[in-house]
Assembly symmetry: C2
Homo-oligomer: 365 residues x 2
């Protein structure tokens, strides 16, 4: 019985062969289809929990499980360490994805979760924006927070929406400057703006993505502003209690669609709202696109806290690619005994005999 | 940046080279030392939670995290699927252990958790029994439940206590019969007994281990009985709400020492007790062995639900052995980008270029 291990080099092969755009398109399709059809009410997707700590630096390691009752469960382990980029040249988010057989508990596969997290976060924003964004051409996309997530937000949105230009702000001007280079493969003009021009950025945007690492208790990122008609906002930076990005006045004027209502109430923009002020979640809107489109003339917000079912679908997509391309390594991981009632019987008999004699020698010395 | 992967074959090498007895002794020493000295009050060890389901069979997949604030956190993922032995020739418990760097969230190591779970469960019983068991020679060990855990219970207890003979019962007579073969390396006489003789087994035991897979709501395993003076019981089968093994009358006559109080109240024998009826936990007793020994003349119960700190110490022990023996494989798992702000920069530039052209081709077809 083996575990399929997808190494970083396998992920690189998959991306090289499939291509970034085709991969993003495929992921968007699977997520749209999955969220439109899955019986999430009967799935087991507990709101994530984890280890939160403040030493040596602020950080957390969380687990995001999803059991769709289709014989498999996924578990994403995701670390969020905002000092990673500056102190360790590592991304803020580091993650792995595991897939288990729910008949036996066997670990079927293990792969990176860092890239899938960035991809699916972008893809989910694109799906929400396709539903709720203004039905116009030549859209201006505003980006607030130009870290790793900004790249996949721009990428995914550009796959589904006619984005004419991007205006980008980050507290760190270098991050705002470098975003154009990081998204050059999109061939969309991108303009970095300084803090003094943030209000202009907000007021010029048809679409807005906030994807910051704002500290808990420090939000919102900006005061309320005079938005363009039908502005759609993807608020993707929230992943911590007390952490939010948008001003509550703006939320109250908006139709707010959470990705995962229970979780958004704990660590999303929805923390700032009463339950009655919150709209339908994305899966519900996807089943009733007419109702969603009726909101398009309004200010709309997708409160994206990160959905474990999106991780589940992302893990299966990469495992499928690895299967098709015959990538990955089958490793024997669990010590599965020859006799299920004897934990030592995974040792072959000769090793066991050696072991017994080794013990006698040990105790004799 | 690499993840140390300890394969099943590496575990086999470790056990062969170290020897089963020396390994168990080393683990017992580390656990005794660790629980005697660790600042568990300031560690982060949330009571385990998980996915519990009844379809296709009763099962659960749980996560057991431990952050000792020493720069590393462990996460054991443990599956409990009682139909595994009969339906799939697999052990009831299948598990993996992960160790994370709490500065960055990086996955440092991954190894089997199935064998470490069996080993540490035995080792914890032995440590509790050394403290609380009757100070006599020629002890009779009663075993109720002759599955995989029974093997390591017998093994670990025999390393610390003068066991003259073992009397074993299982609802499945074949399991009781085969235990003597599975524990033959201990060279202790072992006698299987049928259900009709269960009371005699209980009344003859100086030490008792209950390690069954009793279904939730079906306990206790037997009614109260006339115990030997100073009987010590290790109740290790509890790992589920509503699941318990011992009669409440017996618990009320006993000094009950939980491994992990909060968790034992949810899924241990302590479910049946009021908080005031529960004694100190094992870590507390280890710091005051005189107080523990004062209980030895009484009936004593170690309520062993499974402690994530024991998993943490077990994981580090095996990683240390692998390090010393230069075993394990260093794999690049997380897609760590060259630029922490660009999730696609883990691709080398040529792959990225190919990727871009592949996309163009894709969209052109």
């Amino acid at each position: 019985m083996h575990t399929k291990l997808i190494a970083r080099s396998d992920m690189e092969t998959i991306l090289s062969r499939v291509g970034l755009d085709a991969l993003m398109d495929q992921l968007i399709d699977r997520l749209r289809e999955g969220f439109s059809t899955a019986d999430l009410a009967h799935a087991q997707i507990p709101a994530r929990s984890g280890l939160h700590y403040h030493s040596p630096d602020l950080g957390l390691i969380e687990w995001m499980p999803a059991n769709l009752k289709q014989g498999k469960a996924s578990l994403k382990i995701v670390g969020y360490h905002p000092t990673n980029p500056s102190k360790r040249s590592l991304p803020t988010i580091l993650s792995t994805l595991s897939v288990y057989d729910t008949r036996s508990g066997h670990l079927l596969g293990l792969l990176d979760g860092t890239l899938p997290t960035a991809l699916r976060t972008g893809a989910m924003s694109a799906i929400a924006t396709e539903l709720l964004g203004p039905p116009r051409d030549g859209l201006v996309l505003g980006i607030v927070g130009c870290g790793a997530q900004a790249v996949t937000q721009c990428h995914a949105l550009s796959r589904l929406l006619p984005i004419a230009r991007i205006v980008a702000h980050d507290r760190n001007p270098q991050a705002a400057e470098s975003l154009s280079q990081r998204t050059s493969f999109l061939s969309i003009p991108i303009e970095p703006v300084a803090h003094g021009q943030l209000t202009e950025l907000l007021e010029a945007s048809d679409l807005l993505c906030t994807c910051t690492s704002e500290d808990p208790g420090r939000g919102p990122l900006f005061p309320d502003f005079a938005n363009r008609p039908g502005l759609h906002i993807n608020a993707v930076g929230c992943d911590f209690p007390e952490k939010f990005e948008l001003p509550v006045e703006l939320l109250r004027r908006s139709y707010v669609c959470p990705d995962f209502r229970e979780q958004a109430l704990i660590e999303g923009e929805c923390q700032q709202l009463q339950p009655a002020e919150i709209g339908d979640d994305l899966a519900t809107l996807l089943r009733d696109p007419e109702a969603a489109r009726a909101q398009r003339e309004r200010l709309t917000v997708f409160d994206s806290t990160g959905h474990a079912y999106a991780d589940y679908l992302s893990a299966l997509l990469f495992l499928d690619y690895a299967g098709e391309m015959e990538l990955g390594t089958d490793i024997g991981l669990e010590c599965i005994p020859a006799d299920p009632l004897d934990p030592y019987s995974f040792l072959n008999p000769s090793a066991r005999k050696d072991s017994a004699s080794a013990c006698i020698q040990e105790s004799g010395t």
